[in-house]
């Protein structure tokens, strides 16, 4: 790289080449540096290093050079703590942490943060956070948590969830409903007074978030099957039409030109065929097609609707069912 950087007076195209080369080399350096950082930090948490350090601490306390120990131990503890946090985040999906509200005149500056990690398509999405604050002063028994801030997308009714699970236990005592918390059956309607159920709240919230990601994934999976995402890359819609011919047989069979979620929450999915047939179906949290309306030029297409919702109704096998239907129709 140095050698090439020395001759800047070279003519245009060569210079460009060199610039590009320098750029790639720089990028490589930075990825390597990044890798180095990852490796060094993960090295600190390997069992070997850990046990070595522990041995050094316990057995040969006097013998080890103190400088090394002092240098290493804070790093090692930090790395250890971080990795254990990570293990918890990976294993449990929902973890809690304390957070201090920096606002000077906040009535309850100590907040309880709940972090929800979701793995979608093999990678972790940005964690979702809910920060809860304590309300109700004085009596510890009546301690009430309520949602202070959160990063949950707007279509999930955090307020309503909180209203059900974190509703205040009001004045009444809650002994009579002690058993309810254990089974987690919070959804069953009972008398007004109830205990706050933070676990239930987080569980429902996480379930809703996971279901959303799964729905998005399912739509993405179907689009991938149709090869629609590639068409988007290819550009214009006219091009899309042409690509049907050269694409895989599965795409030709069905002739679906559009399949997309109608809104961010991916609850409803809209389909469009080449020949103008339209369809819309509702995805349940469990990945089933709950309801479907399909239209052809004569009106409601009940046969397709049955095919879409029937046969177990799994979203993943939607195209197989449609194909079966087409095969049936072709035979008759």
């Amino acid at each position: 790289m140095n050698q090439k950087a020395h001759n800047p007076g070279s003519p245009g195209p060569e210079e460009k080449d060199l610039d590009a080369e320098i750029h790639t080399i720089r990028a490589e350096i930075s990825t390597l540096a990044h890798r180095k950082r990852i490796l060094t930090t993960s090295l600190l948490t390997t069992p070997t290093i850990k046990s070595l350090l522990r041995n050094a601490n316990t057995n040969t306390n006097a013998k080890t050079p103190t400088t090394l120990k002092e240098d290493l131990s804070p790093l090692a503890t930090a790395a250890g703590a971080h990795s254990s946090t990570n293990h918890h985040r990976i294993a449990f999906g929902a973890t809690a942490f304390p957070f201090k509200d920096p606002a000077p005149n906040s009535p309850a500056p100590n907040l309880l943060g709940v972090r929800i990690d979701i793995c979608a398509r093999g990678r972790f999405v940005k964690p979702y956070y809910v920060l809860l604050r304590q309300e109700g002063k004085g009596k510890q028994k009546e301690m009430k948590m309520c949602v202070h801030r959160h990063t949950i997308p707007a279509f999930i009714a955090v307020d309503r969830l909180a209203g059900v699970f974190l509703a205040s236990s009001s004045r009444r005592r809650v002994e009579d409903e002690e058993g309810e918390e254990g089974e987690g059956g919070v959804l069953k309607s009972s008398r007004g007074a109830r205990r706050q159920d933070l676990r239930g709240f987080v569980r429902e919230l996480r379930r809703e978030l996971v279901a959303w990601h799964l729905r998005c994934e399912a739509v993405g999976f179907l689009r991938e099957k149709l090869g629609l995402d590639r068409d988007v890359d290819a550009g214009n819609e006219e091009g899309e039409e042409k690509q049907w011919g050269e694409g895989g047989a599965s795409r030709n069979d069905l002739g679906i030109v559009r399949l997309e979620a109608t809104a961010v929450e991916a609850r409803y999915v809209r389909m469009e065929w080449e020949d103008g047939r339209l369809g819309r179906f509702k995805l349940s949290n469990a990945g089933l097609v709950e309801r479907a309306v399909f239209m052809n030029d004569r009106g409601r297409d009940k046969v397709v609707e049955d095919a879409v919702t029937g046969g177990g109704g799994r979203i993943e096998s939607l195209f197989e069912r449609l194909k079966e239907l087409e095969a049936l129709e072709a035979r008759s």
Binding site: A78, P102, Y129, E208
Partner: protein
Amino acid sequence: MARSRTVRAPTTASLPNSLRIPSTTPSLSKTLGKLSRSTLLDLALSWLEDRNVESFPPYLQPSDTSNNDNEETLPYPAAETLAEVREAYIDLRNRKGGKQEIIERILEGDWRHGITLRQLAMADLRYMDDRPASLRWTAMELVRVNDVANSKSKNISDTIASASEDWSSHIPRIQAASFVKSLHAEIAPLVKAHYHLSRSSTLPLTFLRIFIIDSPYQNPRQQPEIFTDATRIIYIAFPDSCPYFYTSSITTSNASSSTSLGAGSLATDPRTLQRLVREAIPKALSRPHQRFTLKPTALAAKNLQTLLTLRGPGRSTSSNGAFSIFADAALEGSPLDPRPSNTVLAEEHMRGREENDTHSHDDASKSARPATNKRPSGSGTVTTTERALSPDSKKRRLAVESRFGTVGCSITPAPLDRLDIRLLDSLGANDDDDPDPDRNAANLAPAVSVTFTGSDVIGGIRKLAELGVVDPEHMPSWMTGEEAVSTAFVREGKRLHVER
């Protein structure tokens, strides 16, 4: 115009898309003149697209030309085919020139018989795409009526009974066409309107442009100027998947009352008409057993992006200010990241999870800007190296970081152009004069209003705090944008939730 021939009878139908405004109307060229040259050309070409052109065809040479003597004297001879017209605009795009010639060509040439309402609406929406800050928007929230009743009566068992398994179906589902239909049913007896729906090309929004007029007739006999009267146009923007919507607010209050042509009674005032439309929106969205009502959210801003960030479908809607670190996930990375999160720059967390991130500036800037790594103390994750000895500036920076979070350096900037704060702290006594019903009115409260205006108010306060003008540790949280409002009543540094 063909107006004189039509039968005039009062109807409840909406104004037709094809209603033509004579192209000689001077305000028409003013409206078109707001657009830039390239936008104008795009617009004209989109008018000529196949799916649009039948609703407002350009003026073409009649095939049986008996006498076209006067035609030839005109500066823009009529084209013979549609392709010719398209060609002309493509030619115009390829060469340089002013936009005036395009406006003239549109008004005196190809659409000399008038611009339809739909064309006008398309032009207006183009303008909005070009200048997202041209209007001032107010965010409104749609609340389920049941929810409101429940929260007020504190009847929890009701809530539980009504709680379904599905926690993500509470937002009104908007099917644009049927919404317009029911909105029309709501307001048709009161005002005559023209509706135009369009999807924003830049933001995840659906615009509804409503032009209102107080005439029961299909072809109103008002001055054609009225069709370009900005006070008679309401824009409603529906963001995807969230219980909010934004309406454009009237800016010229005095001018509107004077220019309203059928003046006199209160009912014909554009403001009243706008209010009618706004009140009809929740009704149009309601369905049996699922009624909605409007709730003001105390946020108005010029920038639509701001509204989307602060009252939108995303993560940042209810975590701002100090909590924006959570919205941007600047606090920590993925659980698969072995690096302790306080040694990684916040920007790097925020940048998302692309694999081939360039980390070139990473190590270098880590030593240069250690403050960025520091998060508010007690954030619970690994906080190891407590850099105890720090100069004042560093301390201040830490405080600023903790108070403002990622505001100002966020991925989705949300500049507020105006922040009105009414301070209700009274002198001594705990009384005040705010419209809060549960407080008694008092006399010893000075009415102090603070108004900040600028291109980015919160960002500006952050700068002031960085410079040491504002004490970052003791300033109230509304100064950090945490409340995400543009108007607020504040007592003892806390925002009061004024019930209406």
